[in-house]
């Protein structure tokens, strides 16, 4: 496939475990160990919690969760817009995901631990790769 053909196919998922971006119902995919229940992001064959092989099952992760921890980033790499909230979110039913918490003022006074958040999907802040592809990313926002 040439570069222009790739670009013409539309945006790509920002991570391999962001699925269904060509539908109106994208979601994050986890892999859950059939033996111990540990949830991982990305495909794998062996569970690093219990060592069990070949019992990892793909699961659709819920779009709801709670804020576990965060930092408000004021200095980042060149070209990255600051400030923003780097958030650690525990999804309902297991699985932890890191991402930007958006649509809330980046001020500790406004942010509370365990606040309910939802996963939303959108363009990856206009970032494109060397071949000109655009990307779809996931974000967190306060749950309505």
């Amino acid at each position: 496939m040439s570069e222009s053909e790739q670009a013409a196919k539309g945006p790509l998922p920002v991570v391999s475990w962001l699925k269904g971006i060509d539908t109106d119902d994208p979601f994050l995919e986890g892999h859950k160990c059939g033996a111990c229940g540990a949830v991982f992001l990305g495909e794998r064959e062996v569970c690093s919690s219990c060592g069990t092989r070949n019992q990892m099952n793909a699961v659709r992760l819920p779009n709801k969760g709670r804020l576990y921890s965060y930092s408000i980033v004021h200095r980042s790499f060149p070209g990255v817009e600051v400030p923003y909230i780097s958030a650690i979110v525990d999804l309902d039913d297991g699985g932890t995901v890191k991402g930007n918490l958006i649509n809330i003022e980046p001020d500790p006074a406004n942010i509370s631990f365990d606040m309910p958040v939802e996963v939303v999907f959108g363009d990856a802040l206009g970032r494109k790769d060397r071949d000109g592809n655009s990307y779809i990313a996931y974000f967190f926002q306060p749950a309505t």
């Binding site: 920002v14 965060y70 930092s71 780097s86």
Partner: protein
Amino acid sequence: MSDVYVVGIDMIKFGRFPEKTVPQLGAKAALMALDDADLAIQDMQALYCGNLGQASAMVGQRILQEIGQTGICVVNCANACATGATAFREAWMSIKAGVYDVVLAVGVEQMGKGLLGGAGGAKGISKEGLLGSSTMPAVFAEAGMEHTRQHGTTFEQFAKVSVKNHHHSTLNPKAMYQIETPLETVMNAEMISYPNTKLMCSVNVDGAAAAVLVSEKKAKELGMQRAVRVKASVLTSDPYTNRDLVMPDVNAVTRRAAKEAYEMASLGPEDIDLVELHDCFATAEILHYENLGLCKDGEAGRLIDEGEVALGGRVPVNVSGGLLSKGHPLGATGIANIYEVSTHLRAEAEKRQVEGAKIGMTHVIGLGSACGIHILEKVV
């Protein structure tokens, strides 16, 4: 198995030395440690070298090319910020195993300025600021905020760590900085990643430290007067915990190492007279008071508030100035910590001396993750 002793140890003053090469910095520390032991490179049976920035470039051999190519065994180690501790531990293990009687461990690093963080992959697009932050200040801020979540630790309490360590560094001529930073100065410094301000982030510096380790037989031969006994040497990797792969768990990896170290030394936290721990960020130091058992869970804020961890307190932490002010040359840090504790056990720390120090602990974390802990004991 023989006990292992440190009979020579030293570090160069941390700073920025762009005109020097990595092997030159390492060689300088190696010669200082040899002088401290009153031994020569010809006496060394092996060299364990820790360096991160040139991990594939045979730094240990290039150090010998500077100070004496005696043909001995050289092992080069890289283990993130636990690199120096790993090199020291490999040296310790070679004596424990009975393979050698006298070995040299060197940790050395030359650092650039700026933020440390996960490298953006070559494929796709940068995830920094898109899927949260992977910069070290943010990662350790998130770890600190977990403590806030659990115990209500405040921005001010985190900042006090930096006030303390900067104060300690005014008493250490080998620290990068010797500058007092009052609480308001720390809290009003440029915010890097809340709650870590610029003065709550470790200083990127160049540095090197080295140690001569010997068997009991050799230590007796050389004289025990200034010898320091290695009571425990432990290295752990991150055990599985629920969030570890998304939010590196520096607590579980440290708690496991501390437990093993206390068991190996047949000692408890109440026996420790001073600690050099991995204050890569002010938030991190708070976590490790509890992880190392210096206080009960939830008491770390009180420890910093009441000065128990300051010089003169119950268990002084980072009297060298710590990574926050002495500086953090990644591969050198683990041996520089051991130098600091050894200096107190030898009662040679002058203005910053922890009076009557008999037993000390060093701790480093390499994110990704590795935890190295050493417990050292005064001999004479």
